[in-house]
C-alpha cells in the first residue's frame, strides 16, 4: 500500500540527520516507521488547537503552517513548515495541541502513529536525541520570530521571513537554484509578520523596486543574497544547521 512512497520518510531521516548525525541503522529504522500517506488540499487542517493528537504528520510535499487565533479572531502565523519536517513533534509529550496546523499549499503527508514514534525513541536513543534537538531548533525559530515581530521594522521583518524560508529550503537540499516557490498570499504574509496586508503589499513593492527581490507569481528570486541578508538583519545561527556560506 505504501509502494509509491517506499522511501517516503527519507526526507524525515535527512532532516533529523541535519541536526544530529545518525547511523545507517538508525536511518533505516526511521524509513521503516509504519505510516499512511494522505493527499491534502490547501487549507486542510492537520491539527486543531485543543485536539489530543494520537499521530504525527510528516510533510512530504507542499508547505504547511502553524497558527493561533486571538480571542478577537485575529490570526497569527507561528511557523512555516517545509517538506521533511514533522508537523507535530512539538506536542509529543503534551496532551493537548496549543495551536493549529494547516496546509499552506496542496501537499502530501505521511501519518505516523505517536506510539510508533515513542517506541522508536525508546529503542534508538540517538534517534531520540535527534528528534529532541529538532524540537529545540523549532523552539529557536519561535524565539527568532518573537524578535522579528517585536523589534524589526516592516521591511526587515518581511525580508527576514523570506531569508529564513530560502535558507531552510537550501539546508534541506530541497532547492538548489536561486529561485524559490513561495505559495503564500499577502494576507498570510501579514499574519506571519504581525502587519496588515496593505502594509505587506507596500513593503513587497518597495523590495522589488530596490531590486532586492524579483517576483513572478509564486516564484521569488533574490538577485543578491548578501544585500537581502543585510536588509533582513538575517544571521542563520538560530537555525543551527551546518553553515552553507551561501
Amino acid at each position: 500500500m505504501n509502494a509509491p512512497h517506499e522511501t517516503a520518510l527519507q526526507l524525515l531521516a535527512r532532516k533529523l540527520n541535519l541536526h544530529h548525525r545518525l547511523s545507517d541503522a538508525d536511518q533505516l529504522a526511521i524509513l521503516g516507521l509504519p505510516h499512511k500517506i494522505r493527499r491534502l488540499e490547501a487549507q486542510s487542517y492537520i491539527l486543531r488547537e485543543g485536539d489530543r493528537p494520537d499521530r504525527c504528520a510528516v510533510l512530504l510535499e507542499g508547505y504547511a503552517f502553524r497558527h493561533k487565533l486571538t480571542g478577537e479572531g485575529a490570526r497569527q502565523i507561528l511557523a512555516i513548515n517545509i517538506p521533511g519536517e514533522a508537523l507535530d513533534f512539538q506536542n509529543l509529550f503534551l496532551e493537548e495541541a496549543d495551536h493549529n496546523v494547516q496546509m499552506l499549499s496542496r501537499g502530501i503527508i505521511a501519518d505516523v502513529q505517536r506510539e510508533a514514534i515513542e517506541a522508536l525513541i525508546a529503542e534508538h536513543s540517538e534517534i531520540g536525541r535527534a528528534i529532541l534537538i529538532t524540537t529545540l531548533v523549532e523552539a529557536s525559530i519561535f524565539r527568532e520570530w518573537v524578535v522579528n515581530i517585536g523589534q524589526r521594522d516592516s521591511r526587515s521583518r518581511i525580508a527576514h521571513l523570506l531569508c529564513e524560508f530560502a535558507y531552510r529550503l537550501n539546508a534541506q537540499a530541497l532547492n538548489t537554484s536561486a529561485v524559490y516557490e513561495l505559495p503564500i498570499t499577502q494576507e498570510q504574509l501579514a499574519d506571519a509578520t504581525g502587519l496588515t496586508p496593505v502594509h505587506v503589499n507596500r513593503v513587497l513593492q518597495a523590495l522589488q523596486r530596490e531590486g532586492l527581490i524579483e517576483r513572478d507569481r509564486r516564484m521569488i528570486r533574490f538577485p543578491s543574497w548578501e544585500r537581502m541578508r543585510d536588509v533582513a538583519d538575517f544571521n542563520p545561527r538560530y537555525l543551527h544547521t551546518v553553515d552553507l556560506a551561501s
Binding site: 507561528l78 523552539a139 519561535f142 523589534q151
Partner: protein, 241 residues
C-alpha cells in the same frame, strides 16, 4: 535548604506530570553540580558561546533576550526558580540567545556530559527535560501571538497573567499578590513596545483597577478581569497535563 533539596524541587515539579521512579529521583538528586551566584543583570550565557554546562535556576529570576544589530533588545522569556535556563543552548552546542539575571540569582550548574549521561541512562528523566523544553516552546509561540496580534494593553496584561500563573503553579506566590521584579524597560522589551507606551499602558491598567504595582509587588485584585483584558487563556501553559 540543603543542596539535595534544591534540585529536589525540580524533581517534585516533574513528578506532578510524569511517572518517575526512585532511581530517576536518585539520578537527579545525585547529579554533580556547582552552585553559583549571579548579581542582577549579570550574563549567564552570551549568544555565540559554546555552552558546556546546563543551568537550573534555584533562587531569583532570570530572562532570555536577543540583541539586534541596531542594538535593540527583545526579551524572549522570563524564568522562575525550578526551571532550566540553558537546556536549549546546551544541547544545541552554540547559544542562539543571551541569558541574563533579572534579580540576584542562585543557580545550579550541571556539566553537560553528566546531564547527557543521566538522560541516556534514565529515559524518564530525558522525557522530563524534553517536556520542559516543549513547554518553553509553547510559551515562545504564545509570545509570537502576543507581539504580533495584541494591542499594548492586551500585551502587558497577558504577560502579567502569564507570570502570575506560572509563579502560582510553582508554589512561589498566590493570587492576588505576586513578586514582580521587572523594570518598565524590561516590560517594554518583552512586549515590543516603547518605554513611554509601556508606562502609559501600566497607568491605564492601574487606573481601571486591574492591577496595583508597588515596589516589586504586583497585586491583581480581579483575576478574571485582568485575564479578559489580556485575552489570556492558559491552555498554552499546559498546567493541566
Amino acid at each position: 535548604m540543603t543542596d539535595a533539596s534544591l534540585l529536589g524541587a525540580l524533581f517534585r515539579r516533574w513528578k506532578r506530570r510524569l511517572r518517575l521512579s526512585e532511581e530517576d529521583e536518585a539520578a537527579v538528586v545525585n547529579l554533580t553540580w556547582a552552585r553559583k551566584q549571579y548579581q542582577r543583570d549579570a550574563y549567564l550565557t552570551r549568544e555565540g558561546e559554546h555552552v558546556k554546562a546546563c543551568t537550573v535556576l534555584l533562587q531569583g529570576f532570570a530572562y532570555r533576550q536577543k540583541v539586534l544589530s541596531d542594538g535593540s533588545r527583545q526579551i524572549i522569556s522570563f524564568h522562575i526558580p525550578g526551571e532550566f535556563l540553558d537546556i536549549q543552548n546546551c544541547l544545541l552546542e552554540v547559544a542562539d540567545h543571551n541569558v541574563q539575571a533579572l534579580t540576584r540569582c542562585l543557580v545550579a550548574i550541571v556539566p553537560k556530559e553528566l546531564l547527557l549521561q543521566v538522560m541516556s541512562a534514565r529515559p524518564a528523566v530525558r522525557q522530563a527535560i524534553w517536556l520542559d523544553s516543549l513547554l518553553d516552546a509553547s510559551v515562545f509561540r504564545e509570545w509570537v501571538v502576543n507581539v504580533g496580534r495584541r494591542d499594548a494593553k492586551q500585551r502587558i496584561a497577558h504577560l502579567l497573567c502569564e507570570l502570575a500563573l506560572r509563579m502560582e503553579a510553582a508554589g512561589l506566590g498566590h493570587k492576588p499578590l505576586f513578586d514582580f521584579p521587572l523594570t518598565q524597560e524590561q516590560l517594554a522589551d518583552a512586549t515590543g513596545l516603547t518605554a513611554v507606551h509601556t508606562n502609559r499602558t501600566l497607568q491605564a491598567l492601574r487606573k481601571s483597577g486591574l492591577i496595583a504595582l508597588t515596589a516589586s509587588k504586583l497585586t491583581i485584585p480581579d483575576w478574571d478581569a485582568l485575564a479578559e483584558a489580556g485575552d489570556f487563556s492558559e491552555r498554552y501553559l499546559h498546567h493541566s497535563v
